[in-house]
């Protein structure tokens, strides 16, 4: 489209020219400058698009659970839940480009949790990715957290920024004002001139949606300024998701920005390609599962007559040497020459950030020095996983 009018004054000052007498941007890329000092979204998988472990889990009542990558639901003695990656087909989050969300449905209620019980949804960040907040310095930056949320409950929830390095906490609250309706929330958090984030690959910050808890977590006041962490302050505004089997909570479009933004000045959510998003998730976890029977996992060599060794490369360099896991021994075979030999044991040795040694025992039938391929046994159930979660 040809320009009929050029804002020369703006060009002379270096500001973005306004074409055709249009309206200059007041948010996002104002004056042609991305307000973000970071190149990538700080929150990984904020659009809940990647769910390597599966898309639906039922009867979730304890421990660490990932309905989508990078977002951990952790209930302890407080009800049971179905957690899913929800496909969106309508609503304001959908209308704003989000096609997936993380959803939690209460299936067993606990309206009177014991003092130490809790249910948390959280995502964890490495310190080396947070240096741009300049936390612990006189130039410390404010934080802005934004997200889309939907619930049957009209209530007030609490989300905390939990600085693990310095055991400090600040919180914000959000209201689900209209039942079963996607609402966008933008929450500002103050800067903190106390306590720098460690500049390393370890956990420094937890973004913690405290969804329910007993009195150990509800007895205090939600801190609006950074403070020494106190458990009683972490859930002063109890969302109480576990209070009824009617309850649900869904979230997507989670973004954390450096600086203070309002709903009108907030930079747009950075929609990554699925491939880029998956790669970033695989820094923390990957699942190499069977997509077809007899699928190969790794190639190697026979060492002796009853075992073989293969190098298992991770799809991405991982945050830390990962914990390796697998399906049952019987799900694997060793392909050698023209025969498949049943595995009797599958183990991993020397895992590092880039690879692990995959070691497979068989009862007999291998020839020392021959090449092998470690494959699914034909049942289509074999998998290998690596986890370097924070």
């Amino acid at each position: 489209m040809a320009l009929s009018k050029i804002d020369v004054a703006n060009m002379l000052t270096g500001a973005t020219p306004v074409a055709n007498g249009g309206t200059a941007l007041t948010s996002g890329f104002v004056n042609g400058k991305d307000p973000r000092p970071s190149a990538s979204p700080l929150i990984i998988n904020g659009d809940a698009a990647v769910a390597q472990r599966g898309t639906s889990f039922t009867s979730v009542s304890s421990g660490s659970n990932f309905p989508v990558d990078r977002f951990e639901f952790y209930p302890t003695n407080l009800g049971a839940y179905t957690i899913i990656q929800e496909a969106l087909t309508s609503g304001e989050a959908y209308n704003n480009g989000f096609r997936t969300a993380l959803r939690i449905d209460t299936t067993t209620a606990d309206a009177s949790p014991a003092s130490s019980d809790y249910a948390i949804l959280r995502t964890k960040l490495e310190g080396q990715d947070l240096q741009l907040f300049k936390k612990g310095t006189s130039n410390a930056e404010k934080f802005t957290l934004a997200f889309w949320v939907k619930s049957n409950k009209t209530t007030t929830g609490q989300v905390n920024l939990f600085d693990i390095d310095n055991n400090r906490l600040v919180s914000g609250t959000y209201a689900t004002s209209s039942a079963n309706t996607w609402e966008k929330k933008v929450i500002n958090f103050p800067a903190d001139t106390t306590g720098a984030f460690d500049n390393d690959n370890a956990l420094s910050l937890i973004v913690e949606f405290f969804l329910d808890g007993g009195s150990n977590f509800t007895s205090g006041t939600a801190p609006t300024a950074w403070e020494a962490q106190s458990n009683g302050d972490r859930n002063a505004n109890n969302f109480a998701i576990g209070s009824s089997t009617d309850n649900d909570f869904a979230i997507t479009g989670v973004q954390l920005e450096v600086g203070e933004f309002s709903s009108t000045t907030l930079p747009p959510f950075e929609h990554e390609s699925f491939g880029n998003n998956l790669q970033r998730c695989q820094r923390y976890f990957y699942l190499n599962n069977t997509v077809s029977a007899s699928m190969p996992f790794a190639s190697g060599v026979v060492s002796g007559t009853t075992n073989s060794r293969a190098v298992m490369r991770h799809p991405q360099p991982m945050r830390a040497p990962p914990t390796m896991g697998r399906s049952g021994n019987a799900d694997f075979k060793v392909f050698c020459g023209s025969t498949n030999v049943d595995s009797t044991n599958v183990a991993f040795y020397y895992p590092n950030n880039y690879q692990a040694l995959l070691y497979v025992d068989v009862s007999s039938g291998l020839t020392n020095g021959q090449g092998v391929v470690i494959i699914d046994d034909g049942g289509g159930n074999a998998y290998i996983q690596g986890s370097a979660e924070l």
């Binding site: 690959n201 914990t323 040795y349 895992p351 692990a356 070691y359 370097a388 979660e389 924070l390």
Partner: protein, 56 residues
């Protein structure tokens, strides 16, 4: 919840890996790496008075 932890040797040498068995009998292979959270959990488990079994 950790049930047992055992060192894993390969070719007679410690392979920098522990076999971690959880209470549900799921088995995981955990590197001896301070930035691995499962290894951190093993260290905490040992600090509680538990013992890592030697390799076979």
């Amino acid at each position: 919840m950790i049930k047992t932890v055992k060192k894993l040797n390969l070719d007679g040498n410690f392979s920098n890996t522990y076999l971690l068995t959880l209470q549900n009998d799921k088995q995981l292979y955990v590197p001896k790496a301070e930035d691995n959270t499962d290894y951190q959990n093993i260290l905490a488990w040992v600090a509680e008075g538990n013992t890592i079994a030697e390799a076979d």
